[in-house]
């Protein structure tokens, strides 16, 4: 069962929730994997002592154009959906802009004169770790200067396998990286905060998920700040509220020191234990059988 922990807005507590859910399941001896899908800024490993067990590079194939074989027909440039082939017929200029290339291969297919070959370009890495507790953490990390983390995220989710519970710590926002992560999830938990910003981004996330035929559940973090807008929205939209986590400086302190509240604050430990029960006992798809 794959559980994605997501939120439209950054800084609401996705990683906080994901790492603590993972910790609770791991210390119970469950078969659980944590997958850090925030490939642009992975940070789940801050919270665990872990050793690296495996690392693979993720690449895609970009075109290399042989100008001697090129007939300057321009088909490759026209077929490219991402404006990655710069082409000027009159001046006989043709350049691949590698940063814009999605590695789809359309240009190679379009070329009738065999002028295009492909070379691999590394986009990032997927690294597998084992925590002291014995559970795996898979980290997606894209290379600086690459444009899209999507392929790296996909590879990390694949590397996480299919066994037991897999917690996907999703990237912020509601664009491609988010969609790629939640697409693979059996159940989506959205973490939000009760502020106008939180509500606006929650709405976007819910709308995006519903477009994908997925019904999320919500955790409200720092639930006693802000206003009642998020609560009213959840009631109106019939979205289950899984948990409210009240603002507590002790949580912020523990988190900022890279430690887990479920190991250090008893009240939070029970809150997350309950949360795990709620999620696993069919609050989501009901497909998970222990």
């Amino acid at each position: 069962m794959k559980i994605a922990v997501a939120s439209g807005k950054g800084g609401t507590g996705k990683t906080f929730v994901a790492t603590n859910l993972f910790n609770v399941l791991s210390r119970r001896g469950e078969d659980v994997t944590l997958t850090d899908c925030d490939a642009e800024a992975p940070d789940d490993l801050i919270f665990f002592r872990a050793e690296k067990t495996n690392e693979t590079e993720v690449d895609h194939r970009v075109p290399v154009i042989n100008k001697d074989a090129c007939t300057w027909c321009g088909r490759c440039s026209r077929w490219c959906n991402y404006n990655a082939i710069f082409y000027l017929q009159a001046a006989k200029v043709i350049e691949v802009i590698e940063n814009l290339c999605h590695g789809c291969g359309a240009c190679t297919f379009a070329c009738n004169s065999g002028a295009i070959t492909e070379k691999p370009v590394v986009l990032g890495t997927v690294t597998k770790f084992r925590t002291e507790g014995g559970s795996p953490v898979v980290e997606a990390r894209m290379k600086v200067n690459e444009m899209s983390p999507v392929r790296v995220i996909k590879a990390a989710i694949k590397e996480s396998g299919e066994s037991g519970v897999i917690i996907l710590d999703a990237p912020p926002g509601t664009s491609c990286p988010f969609i790629q992560t939640v697409d693979k999830a059996d159940y989506v938990v959205l973490v939000t905060e009760p502020t106008p910003f939180g509500l606006s981004d929650l709405r976007q996330s819910v709308d995006t998920l519903r477009e994908m035929k997925k019904e999320p559940a919500v955790i409200i973090n720092r639930s006693d700040i802000g206003d009642r807008g998020v609560f009213e929205y959840l009631r109106k939209e019939n979205i289950p509220l899984l948990a409210e986590i009240k603002y507590d400086p002790a949580i912020a302190r523990t988190y900022s020191e890279g430690r887990l509240v479920t190991d250090e604050i008893p009240a939070l430990s029970s809150l997350f234990e309950e949360l795990v029960e709620k999620i696993l006992d069919g609050h989501g798809t009901g497909s998970y059988k222990r």
């Binding site: 991402y82 990655a84 000027l88 350049e95 802009i97």
Partner: protein, 110 residues
């Protein structure tokens, strides 16, 4: 010499568009003949690569100079290799016409 000026509208009275790749229109002005051609920018709403695609468009018109408020990082080396001069002119209230007058008086060079 042909100069591309990014424009928010399709007349010479329109204001200068501050973005190059995603501008609304290109006004192509020929400093020798005084001729003007106005092209809608098909890359205005491109998901990605609006800059290079717009360079491709204006370069195919044999433009040697571009006047706009801002140029993206992806196109600077392209413009260099094509020997097309970028003129950064951050004056959103100026009209295309006034830019043309400045070009005629040689007040814009760099």
């Amino acid at each position: 010499m042909k100069v591309a000026i990014t424009s928010t509208g399709q007349s010479l009275e329109s204001k200068l568009d501050q973005r190059f790749g995603r501008c609304a229109f290109f006004v192509i002005y020929d400093t020798e003949t005084g001729g003007v051609e106005i092209l809608p920018n098909p890359n205005k709403d491109a998901e990605e690569g609006a800059g290079p695609a717009s360079v491709q468009l204006v370069a195919s018109k044999e433009v040697k100079k571009i006047v706009s408020g801002e140029f993206g990082v992806k196109i600077k080396s392209l413009l260099d290799s094509l020997k097309i001069q970028m003129v950064v002119y951050k004056e959103p209230e100026k009209t295309v016409k006034s830019v043309i007058e400045m070009l005629n008086n040689q007040k814009i060079n760099k």
